[in-house]
Amino acid sequence: MSVPGTGSFGDFVARAHRAGKLVVQPRMGVSDPAAMRIGLLATRKATATAVGTITLDSYTRMGDNANARAALAAGIELNGYPIVAHDPAVTRSVLDGVAGPDFPVQIRHGSPCPEPIVAALIQAGLHATEGGPVSYCLPYSRMPLEDSIPNWARSCDLLAEVRSTGTDPHVESFGGCMMGQLCPPGLLVALSVLECLFFRQHGIRSVSLSYAQQTNSDQDTEALLALRRLATQWLPDVDWHIVVYTYMGVYPRTPDGATGLLEEAARLAVRAGAARLIVKTVAEGYRIPTFAENVAALETAALAAEGCLTIAGDPVDTGIHAEASALIEAVLDLGPNLGAALATAFRRGYLDVPYCLHPDNAGRARSYLDSTGRLQWSSIGSLPIRGVVGPTDTAKLTAAGLLASLSYVERTFDNASLEQEFQAVSDDSSGSTGDDRDPDPGNRSPAARQSA
């Protein structure tokens, strides 16, 4: 028995996009099946055009189903849903009457060995997932690429068989995120395109290309438009769309800061013509979010998207398209088998992810944030982009310097929110309307803050 009539994930997103609606999606996963069902229902009921997510736990991601089962037996709550440890009938009962053509559900995992996961999602009647041979290996494991790549090839082959049931399976590349932060956009864009080409080589006909919001919204817009151009060029014969991830690095800790960053991501997605957005919640900086926090994030994002009408014009070309193109072509030149080409590219340092500790990553490329908050290369190692990037600038890496770069977005949004609160408090206590702002904020006494 499978979930009846589940339509394809790609179709759902395409229909929403044509209707002018940004599809919003949470990261959501708990170990208890009954609770998982409640979470999916809450997502479905949100005032938004939403798709559902089942995020898997860390044991299942590592293929450590023994520890996942032990935790279930001991009643220990995991950081996601252990789809392999649960019986397929249990997962079908989670989805029964919830997942369907009007509410597709995607499995989000983070596994370099996803065959058992793909088998389990197919058994549960699902057909959409996420990842890639590189993006679910380097940031998610110590497994050699030589193993992750064939694992992913077999998993795509397996998922592609779902097409015979009448539904087009969908795979989203996680290449646009990698370590979550401090990876210059050109490399993120290139990896997204390359992984989607890999999926296509393994029989997948419906894909999405990801890009995670970074540190500067002009740079992000340029990156997303480059991603669109490259997808049009390289994926002419498959169904594809672009998905934006709300900031994937150290997240603002104040509720207003967190919400402000999410709203900016929603506007970025609309401006750049993306079809889908993965949201982040106010709990991001602290712990796994509750369902209520996730629903609030979905609704906030949907509202911000609705209110945003401007479509981006042509942003200043700082060379992201040229950089991504050079990377993609350098990998494709290594041979017709994309899996083998990706492995060679990492061995030679043609692809090299800053700050990634994985043994197969060359680790010679480095990045930094410039004074305008744009991500730049400080060293390109063997990346084949010497002709297209400007001069690089190596400063000594220190703990304080790295922490400052990692917390740049958090500080920007938290400070804005604290500043606002401070203004509100002092405006309040001085009876001011806020029109005649004190030109010297230093005059505002701490007492004003305490009176709130």
Partner: protein
């Protein structure tokens, strides 16, 4: 990153094994903690992400570090950390090696006193939960370095 470690605390500072737990793939925590320790003058063997228990134990048996630092933020750190220290302490050579843990150890925000007490009872010399800041860790390291040198 690896080098043969001596048992004596020398001008090279402490020999520290820095490790994630088996289920946790986060590495920014490891990158930053390595820099913090190196800036204090210590030698760090960073074992990276998703370290299987057996690998971690065999590295420690070979390196005989002065300190083992366990870092985890994925929410499984409490359980993985308890399992890990039992494995480490089952080896006579590692029974007395100082071992600390920190990060975001549970999935519901900073844990209760009971979970901290369980970790200490299992043998962790200190528990640095998220939000503690790095100053407490730095002063712990300072005390350990002085203790070992004398």
């Amino acid at each position: 990153m690896d080098h043969a470690a001596g048992k004596e605390v020398s001008a090279d500072g402490l020999s520290v094994v820095l490790t994630s737990v088996s289920s946790d793939s986060h590495t920014w925590n490891l990158v930053v903690l390595q820099l913090v320790l190196e800036e204090l003058g210590h030698q760090v063997h960073n074992l990276g992400a998703c370290v299987p228990d057996e690998l971690m134990v065999s590295k420690c048996l070979r390196l005989r570090p002065d300190l083992i630092v366990v870092s985890s933020v994925n929410g499984h750190g409490f359980h993985d950390g308890l399992r890990l220290i039992r494995q480490v302490r089952s080896h006579a050579e590692l029974v007395g090696t100082p071992m600390v843990i920190g990060g975001k150890l549970g999935i519901a925000g900073p844990g209760c006193d009971r979970s901290r007490a369980q970790l200490t009872a299992a043998g962790y010399g200190a528990v640095f939960e998220d939000g503690t800041g790095l100053a407490a860790f730095q002063s712990y390291i300072g005390r350990l370095a002085i203790g070992q040198a004398s």
